[in-house]
């Protein structure tokens, strides 16, 4: 805690007030007792904070800052460096690293001043799929005695850590007309400037020189241009259900975190196979990321998913379906990522289907998080777990009336989902 007037101002720490309070108290006592000895103790206590302020930089110091994320699987290693500018010592910088709640610490976060640079090192573990946003570390200049602080400029830029099950890397090119029993996307072919060679045609004035096939033109005696065919595997919309359910905010938050990571993983896999991908995040209203492709679009989706929060005002399913028709063409395959917990989540499926969207549902299961807080006998505990499982099966069965559902309870793996979309069968996947 510090007392500060704002950015660019010196801030006094609680230690300063402790010293000044003690000094002032000794001064009052000395006058009251007419004894000069307490004055001698009070004098350095009163002077020290001002001396510390005199040694402080006259303006907020600037530093250079760079950090990155490494590691694979569940391991997350964050390394970085804070390089102070001239006139500032690395030892005087106090660094605070805020760990996202979805990551667990393997060892304490390190911010070690070494040869003029503060080295950052964090070793975290992601036990579940997650998109974790690590805010930039808080860095302040503090005098060695800890009396005064100053903000430090130049430390900005969040770090987004994405961890999703590795099976998604072999999702490959999908043909969405096979992912559902309902009519859906068909493999389309688009002629243009990208892709494989398709054929020759008469050149038009707007054709750039590199598109002219000069050898063929010489043989034919007229200008011919190449046509390229870009095979598209189809368009897909990933719809993330971010509405609160009766499971409670704690479980909802965990499920949403897992669902966000899965959505990002699926989006990346589809973008790699040159599919156009759109994303919708439905809380109270639909937040769409329109259909597009490319690496920039991947970052756009990642930013949208990282910013997705649980909505405590759940919107009606009809609103989602209408908004989907506004932003996405009917018939495009929708992969709904929803826990299907509660009637509102389940009813989203038929509404989307009635609006013309063929659906596939990936449902992160809340069952692993549903534990009774009351201690039970082993037999009663087994019965409770059995009832929870039966209720879950009933929810999935209701959704299966309108769309195939992949139940996802082992969060470390999405093998069942990958198997289903690669080799769809008209069967339930557990």
């Amino acid at each position: 805690m510090t007392l500060r007037g704002g950015r660019g101002e010196l801030a006094w720490t609680p230690r300063t007030f402790l010293f000044l309070g003690a000094g002032a108290g000794l001064l009052v006592l000395a006058v009251a007792l007419r004894d000069p000895v307490p004055l001698f103790l009070g004098l350095p206590l009163l002077v020290a904070p001002a001396a510390a302020a005199l040694s402080a930089p006259r303006a907020d110091p600037r530093v250079g800052f760079a950090w990155r994320e490494e590691g694979d699987g569940g391991d997350v290693r964050v390394t970085g460096a804070i390089t102070p500018g001239s006139g500032t010592l690395a030892e005087d910088l106090v660094v605070g690293i805020r760990r996202p709640p979805s990551l667990q610490a393997n060892s304490p976060e390190l911010a070690q001043p070494t040869s003029g640079v503060v080295r950052l090192g964090c070793e975290w573990v992601a036990t579940e799929p997650t998109i974790a946003v690590v805010p930039p570390p808080s860095v302040v200049w503090r005098d060695p005695a800890g009396f005064v602080e100053r903000n430090v400029r130049g430390v900005d830029g969040e770090l987004v850590i994405v961890r999703y099950p590795p099976e998604l890397t072999r999702l490959g090119a999908l043909h969405f007309d096979r992912t559902t029993v309902l009519p859906g996307e068909t493999r389309s072919r688009r002629l243009g400037a990208n892709g494989e060679f398709f054929g020759l045609r008469l050149a038009v004035p707007s054709d750039p020189p590199r598109r002219i096939n000069w050898k063929a033109s010489a043989r034919a005696g007229r200008l011919l241009a190449n046509d390229y065919a870009l095979e598209r595997t189809g368009d897909a919309v990933l719809l993330l259900d971010a509405r609160a359910t009766e499971l409670g905010p704690e479980i909802d938050e965990r499920l949403l975190s897992i669902a966000r990571a899965a959505t990002q993983g699926i989006a990346e896999a589809l973008l790699r196979s040159k599919a156009r991908v759109g994303v919708g995040i439905f809380g109270e209203f639909l937040q769409p990321v329109p259909l597009a492709m490319g690496s920039t679009h991947r970052l756009r989706i990642r930013s949208a998913l990282a910013a997705a929060r649980l909505s405590t005002q759940p919107g009606p399913p009809e609103r989602c379906a209408i908004a989907m028709r506004r932003y996405f063409p009917p018939g495009v395959t929708v992969i709904l990522v929803s826990s299907l917990a509660g009637d509102a989540s389940g009813s989203l499926v038929p509404y989307l289907r009635y609006r013309g969207f063929p659906l596939l549902v990936l449902s992160p299961s809340p069952v692993p998080f549903l534990r009774t807080t009351v201690p039970l006998e082993p037999a009663d505990d087994a019965l409770a777990n059995r009832l929870i499982a039966l209720d879950r099966r009933a929810q999935l069965a209701r959704a299966w009336n309108d769309a195939p559902v992949v139940d996802w309870s082992e969060f470390g793996s999405l093998g069942a989902f990958v198997e289903f979309v690669r080799r769809p069968a008209h069967r339930r996947v557990a």
Partner: protein, 174 residues
């Protein structure tokens, strides 16, 4: 991992213990009581420096300041008592600067923060020793301290007095 030695802060610990025990021994309380109070303050501060909570470590110097205040108030009026009291304040700052949660070498980096109060104590003590004593000197000292207090209060209210705008060259503006 911070070692036990760094947590204790040997320079500050030894200095504080010595000064506090001397003041406790000289206090008008019986020597064992004075020494016990001083030692309790030093031990409590040393223990709080091992605290898990950063807030506890932040205010660890508090018990020692309280113990020093008690033995100082009960100390008899003498040049030596004044010297020990002044040194007590200075070694408290030394102990503070040797912060186990910060990078080593705090005493060197915080030399200014230690030197200015030490200089103030030196001037005050030599003035008290060399100048003729009496209520007049005491009044002047008290008035000076009141002025210092007022100055510090002004500085606390106007931290921007320490600020200075960054220099911007024409090249930067472009």
């Amino acid at each position: 991992m911070t070692s036990i030695g760094r947590r204790l802060g040997p320079a500050g610990l030894v200095g504080s213990a010595a000064v506090a025990v001397l003041l406790g021994y000289e206090s008008s309380l019986s020597p064992p009581v004075g020494v016990a109070i001083a030692a309790a303050g030093v031990v409590a501060t040393a223990a709080m420096r091992f605290g898990r909570s950063p807030g506890v470590r932040e205010l660890a110097i508090g018990p020692m300041l309280v113990a020093l205040a008690v033995v100082t108030i009960t100390a008899p009026l003498s040049a030596l008592s004044e010297l020990w009291a002044g040194l007590g304040g200075v070694v408290a700052i030394v102990w503070l600067v040797d912060d186990p949660d910060r990078a080593p070498g705090g005493i060197t980096r915080g030399a200014t923060t230690i030197a200015i109060p030490a200089l103030a104590v030196g001037i005050a003590w030599s003035s008290a020793l060399l100048l003729p004593g009496g209520t007049l000197t005491f009044g002047i000292t008290a008035a000076l301290l009141v002025l210092v207090l007022a100055g510090v209060a002004v500085l606390l209210g106007r931290p921007d007095l320490f600020d200075r705008d960054e220099v911007t060259s024409y090249g930067d503006r472009e």
